[in-house]
């Protein structure tokens, strides 16, 4: 029996903030973002992020959510009982039985981005597993407008995974490799991931290198989301969230096409931008808990 390498598999991870002692906190809340590809949980102690877990989404949302929150609290001494309010977000948000409220990932990403990058953020591009969203927000992280890509997975994380498998390149190396080309090739089809894959196979047969094909796909992804940003009206204080925000091949091409740089992560920032939705959920959870306490 042979073992097939799954090049699309990215590494699951977790993080605990060593500077935060949850035992001293008056409120512990969490946000769980069950996306189509990854499930993220962020745990907040008062106003600080205590821990997070980043896991692959399984076949059902409740298990994926539990998996993510368990991974986040692993080793912290926290138990689920200690978490006073949970907000569910993402594609599977309505199927998280232990969440007190479901809020859309659009609102959560805006809120999370505001927390990570500060009140300067006005435009957020969330490049997720199966869709992309261009979000406008105000200085408090409140959504003022949004647009989503249409129904195809081309230009999303899932599309990138398909290409990683096709070219047998680990997903984490796709971005770097796509930049190792002498000349930028024209982009492949961005209408449909299936067409893009067929085109990629054709290009390989024509003798293109893997790097060239990856460059053509990263370029297509960047171009597709530029259109989305142009439609919503771009403001230069923009940031990227979601898994694709970690792909330098897409991000650098996107910045080049837009003619502006994304706001960099703050120097002391330890949070993965893929966690923005979960962080936003945890912030909403904190506010909702405070509101319910006030009511009594």
């Amino acid at each position: 029996m042979t073992t097939q390498v799954e090049y699309w598999r990215w590494t699951e991870s977790r993080y605990t903030n060593p500077e935060v002692d949850w035992r001293k906190a008056s409120t512990i809340t969490a946000g769980i973002d069950v996306g189509s590809v990854s499930s993220k949980a962020a745990v907040m102690a008062d106003n600080e992020i205590l821990a997070y877990g980043l896991m692959r989404t399984g076949s059902n949302s409740p298990d994926s959510a539990l998996n993510a929150i368990n991974r986040a609290i692993e080793g912290t001494g926290l138990t689920m009982k200690d978490i006073k309010f949970i907000v569910g977000t993402g594609y599977g948000r309505i199927n998280i039985p232990f969440a007190g409220k479901a809020i859309t990932e659009i609102a959560c990403h805006a809120r999370g981005a505001n927390y990570i990058w500060g009140p300067v953020v006005r435009t957020i591009l969330d490049m997720g597993g199966q869709d992309c969203k261009a979000i406008h927000c105000d200085e408090k992280g409140k959504v003022t407008a949004f647009l989503m890509n249409d129904k195809c997975a081309a230009g999303t994380g899932r599309g990138m995974e398909v290409f990683a498998d096709l070219l047998q390149v680990p997903i984490t190396q796709v971005g770097e490799m796509s930049l190792q080309v002498d000349k930028e090739p024209p982009p492949v089809s961005s209408t449909c991931v299936v067409f893009a894959k067929s085109e990629g196979i054709g290009l390989l047969r024509q003798g293109w290198s893997k790097n060239m094909v990856l460059a053509a796909y990263c370029s297509a992804m960047a171009h597709r989301v530029v259109t989305l940003l142009e439609r919503i009206g771009m403001e230069k204080e923009f940031v990227l969230t979601g898994g694709i925000s970690k792909n330098i091949g897409v991000v650098s091409r996107l910045e080049k096409e837009l003619g502006i740089q994304a706001v960099p992560l703050p120097k002391d920032q330890k949070f993965d931008p893929q966690l923005a939705g979960a962080i936003g959920g945890a912030l909403f959870a904190r506010d909702l808990l405070a509101k319910s306490r006030k009511a009594f």
Partner: protein, 437 residues
Amino acid sequence: MVTSIKKYQTRPLDSFKKAVELRKEYYQNVREAKQQGKLLITGGADSMVALPAGLGDYVFFEGEPYGATISMDPEFSGKCVEAAEAKNFARDMCAYMRNYWGSMFLNKYYFGGEFPKPDFVMQLGFCDTHAKWMQQVGEYMNAPYFGIDMPVGTPGRNVEAKVKYLTSQMNDAIEWMQKVTGRKYDDDKLREAVRNECKSSTLWSEIVCYNKAIPAPLEQRLIFTLFIICILRRYERKSVEFYETLRDEVKQRVADGIAAVATERCRLMDDSQPPWYFLQLYKYMEKYGVSVVGSHYSFFLGGSLEEMPDGSLGAPKTPDEMGMPMKTREDILRAYALWYIKKPIISQMFALPHFKSETMLRLVKEWKVNGVIFHLNRGCEGTAMGQMENRLALTKAGIPVMTYEGNMADRREFDEAQTLRRIDAFMESLGLSKLES
């Protein structure tokens, strides 16, 4: 922007039943036209449906409402669009057309029996797809076809030339209809049908103006049920009587403060035809306390609005009310031509998006709308044209806008979960949460 939660009084609309009954009767009339000794004519919903009236009793079988009706039945609609595609008609063509054609190719009328064979086909070419749609019907059904070309261009410009162009074609159509049916043409019957059509239209316009009231007496699902008579039967006296009764009822609802949505706390408009097979969309928004108070499409498909002396939008006058002569055939045709040239659905939606943007901004203001939802409709080239330009104009004016992709009559292109997800996000951005689960 969003007011505090308040529950308005609500009650069912008496005229609703009558609208359903009239629609049902219409489709029976289509099926039984021949037995009733009536002519059966088919063509687009925006054809000059009063024109054949001079020939005597007739039923005008309109393509688009029939295509929309079919789309509400997933099984039959699936068979119809596949039957059209099997004849090599592309999937991205008008979805109404593919449903209608499929029904014709399968020789199955949705309301029972065989697909009704028309005596002739008459189409106003305001939408190029539709001109070819009906040409195909004529060829397939072996029925004579007459196409009237609709002049386009900037509203208010070259009006006389446009009138001349249309009336000359209408005169040709009358000659042609007499020839193909062997019937003599009666101008008195034409006059009556034109008067009915214009009156039905102005009554509908008057009714939608009552929806400026807070709370709105009607909401979009209800509007769709009510406006269809003004599409299907607007040349009949029954249509005028129906809208007179409805107008009085809606007026009374406003006086009594009766709401269509008891929890109305946010008023939205939408754009383009809805996904007809998923009108639950509006019910879903009601959970947030949203009343969709209308749209450019639902106001203007059957009606028209023009500026009143006080600067607000109101119902236009009929040719008789404007004092236009209606004595001779030329008088009637001139009045009828002018009526069509001014129709916003033709002059704005299908031709000049920036005019539509201006109208939408006025509708938003006068109907006190908090946001607009665009159905980016892949099923209709005409209504989809310029939608992004309209969206941009509203956004620039600071009006919250949401878009979702779909198809008015081909559910294969609609994603229910994704659409509801977008609505949830839009509601959140408007500061609304569900009042019920």
